[in-house]
């Protein structure tokens, strides 16, 4: 499947490039923008990002595979990230992890068949003082309890 940046997104990438003395550093921002437009980072996306920044596809692939926030497959509409690192673990992070897992019947990096939900066990998100936590896409939900998680998941299920 062919991938081309929209004109608006190309302009956003050009804005990013202006921050740096060379074009290459904008690869990280360009990949975020591509992921937003395409849903995930496909081989075509990698070629297009390389093309726009005048770097090699291998350089782009190297970045994609190094950082955990670029996804090489389509994740759910709601990408649920549960922290189970120490501070969350001490306050029930694993209970919440199991709760979400059982609710959707998916495991780490799994996606529900309707593509609505995906699940990721993440490392420390910096919510240690408000643990346990879940992030849904870019939004943090902190100071959670079993009930709060249930309410959150139900409200996401009900939404479109």
């Amino acid at each position: 499947m062919n991938f081309k940046f929209t004109q608006a997104n190309l302009e956003r990438i050009e804005q990013e490039i202006k921050k740096y003395p060379v074009r290459k550093p904008a690869v990280m921002a360009a990949l975020y923008i591509a992921q937003e437009q395409n849903g995930f980072i496909s081989n075509e996306v990698i070629k297009e990002v390389a093309n726009v920044l005048a770097i090699t596809a291998e350089e782009v692939l190297g970045v994609v595979t190094f950082y955990t926030m670029y996804h090489q497959k389509q994740m759910g509409k709601y990408h649920i990230q549960v922290c189970t690192n120490v501070s969350c673990m001490l306050r029930g992070g694993y209970e919440i992890w199991n709760q979400v897992k059982n609710k959707f019947g998916i495991d780490h990096m799994g996606v529900t068949s309707d593509q609505k939900f995906s699940l990721e066990e993440v490392e420390c998100m910096g919510s240690c003082g408000t643990a346990p936590m879940i992030a849904v896409n870019e939004e943090y939900y902190e100071d959670l309890s079993k009930e709060k998680v249930e309410d959150l998941l139900e409200s996401l299920k009900g939404s479109n």
Partner: protein, 440 residues
């Protein structure tokens, strides 16, 4: 006590409120002095880095070459990924302009025209908040070309955010620079050090967000004032992030040298259900843990913690009560470093995996006493044998946890000893007590 970093002023994050409380005056004051005078004051203030290594900030700045035909850069490290650390996000949210002002002063001191604030990708919200503050500072003429007029100087600098994408290792300064350059975040071999050969081969200084946020106050109130706060060898306040088994987890700004027991039992409200403390990690998961029965008298600053065989790290205090399963905690920590190892150095890439596997074996009830020795052997073979400090970060918690809780771990691998009994051995104080050294 006066708060330096997180003052109790409503809406302090807004530029107008910040300015009406004297904000950006420190930058104006700085421009009336020479860069060397600024570096000298920060040196004399004794300000030490807040990112983990507690290196003298002014000394680090003085490594930047005075004469060079290359551009110079400042990187402000807001990667904040160490488990137990959640302080920099407070600055982004509640006092972003003080950090921006600190960035301006630092750029002037080291001669950088461009600063990159590296923020972890997961911090979407805080990236937006800081970007808003940067945009406001640009619009009001505190950054960019317009600052020349505002401050009456011929110096100007720009501040940009570089958004990370999920990699703990990018908090390591050379890895951070590779990430800004748009590469895989592999740490670089040192030397050459960043001050000689940093971003794009140019002289570069990397400072933590909290370190930079201290700078305006030092310039405004003078180095003597700052040097008298807290412990003389590690002056100032720290943002202590307290998490785990405490009643009031959160970030507390307190002078260095505050008693650890004060932080746990008074500021953070003690341990839920008045349970005893089994273990405390004082500065984020990579720092050596302290036993519950060794907490008395421990002060929270770089020098005092060194004396008790630990380190201040990022000031992220993780408290574990008497019912905590330390083996599971340690296995989780080992899993983290295994996951985050960049894979360049064999001892770290392979060793972290083995640490995790051995600990999981112990959890599964198949461990033996020789496994405990094996853990320490593996940890020792990682430590000191890697390009960057992630090796130590992975090795220390395992090595020191097993050494310091040897009786606990032996109880776990032996079928004869009842775990709850062994567990109680380390616990101590149950309740709060009057504050020992609150200076108001």
């Amino acid at each position: 006590m006066e708060k330096i970093l997180l003052p109790d002023i409503t809406n302090f994050h807004l530029i107008d409120v910040y300015v009406s409380n004297g904000g950006y005056n420190a930058a104006k004051k700085a421009f009336s002095q020479t860069p060397d005078e600024i570096i000298d004051q920060v040196k004399k203030s004794g300000l030490r880095g807040r990112g983990g290594a507690a290196f003298l900030c002014g000394l680090k700045w003085s490594f930047m070459p005075k004469t060079t035909d290359k551009p110079k850069y400042l990187c402000v490290n807001g990667d904040e990924s160490e488990p137990g650390s959640f302080k920099d996000r407070q600055i982004f949210e509640f006092n972003p302009h003080q950090m921006i002002e600190g960035t301006i002063i630092t750029c002037y001191a080291i001669g950088a025209k461009t600063a990159y604030v590296y923020i972890r990708g997961e911090y979407h919200k805080w990236i937006k908040l800081l970007q808003m503050a940067i945009d406001d500072a640009n619009a009001k003429g505190y950054l960019g070309e317009k600052m020349k007029e505002t401050f009456g100087t011929n110096f100007s600098c720009d501040v940009y955010i570089h958004k990370g994408a999920g990699a703990y290792i990018c908090g390591e300064e050379s890895s951070l620079m590779n990430s800004i350059e748009g590469k895989r975040g592999y740490p670089r071999v040192k030397p050459p050090f960043p001050a000689q050969n940093g971003l794009w081969g140019c002289p570069t200084t990397i400072n933590n967000v909290e370190t930079i946020a201290n700078v305006p106050k030092i310039i405004e109130k003078g180095w003597e004032w700052f040097s008298k706060i807290g412990h003389p060898k590690h002056p100032g306040t720290l943002l202590f992030g307290v998490s785990g088994h405490v009643n009031k987890p959160g970030v507390y700004e307190l002078p260095t040298g505050t008693l650890l027991t004060d932080i746990i039992y008074n500021y953070a409200g003690g341990v839920p259900n008045n349970k005893k403390v089994l273990c405390v990690i004082p500065g984020g998961t990579s720092m050596p843990p302290i036993r519950g029965d060794k907490l008395e008298g421990v002060r929270m600053d770089a020098e005092s913690l060194k004396e008790v065989g630990s380190a201040i790290g990022t000031g992220g205090v993780i408290v574990m009560d008497e019912d905590t399963d330390l083996v599971k905690i340690l296995a989780r920590i080992a899993h983290f470093y295994h996951h985050e190892s960049c894979g360049q150095c064999t001892p770290c890439r392979e060793g972290t995996g083995w640490l995790e596997k051995i600990l999981k074996r112990i959890i599964a009830g198949k461990g033996s006493t020789s496994d405990l020795d094996l853990l320490i052997t593996v940890a020792n073979q990682i430590e000191g044998n890697t390009i960057c400090a992630l090796g130590e970060a992975a090795a220390w918690p395992v090595k020191f946890m097993v050494e310091r809780f040897r009786d606990y771990f032996e109880a776990r691998v032996s079928k004869e000893i009842n775990l709850p009994v062994a567990n109680k051995v380390h616990s101590m104080r149950q309740t709060a007590f009057p504050l020992a050294d609150v200076k108001n």
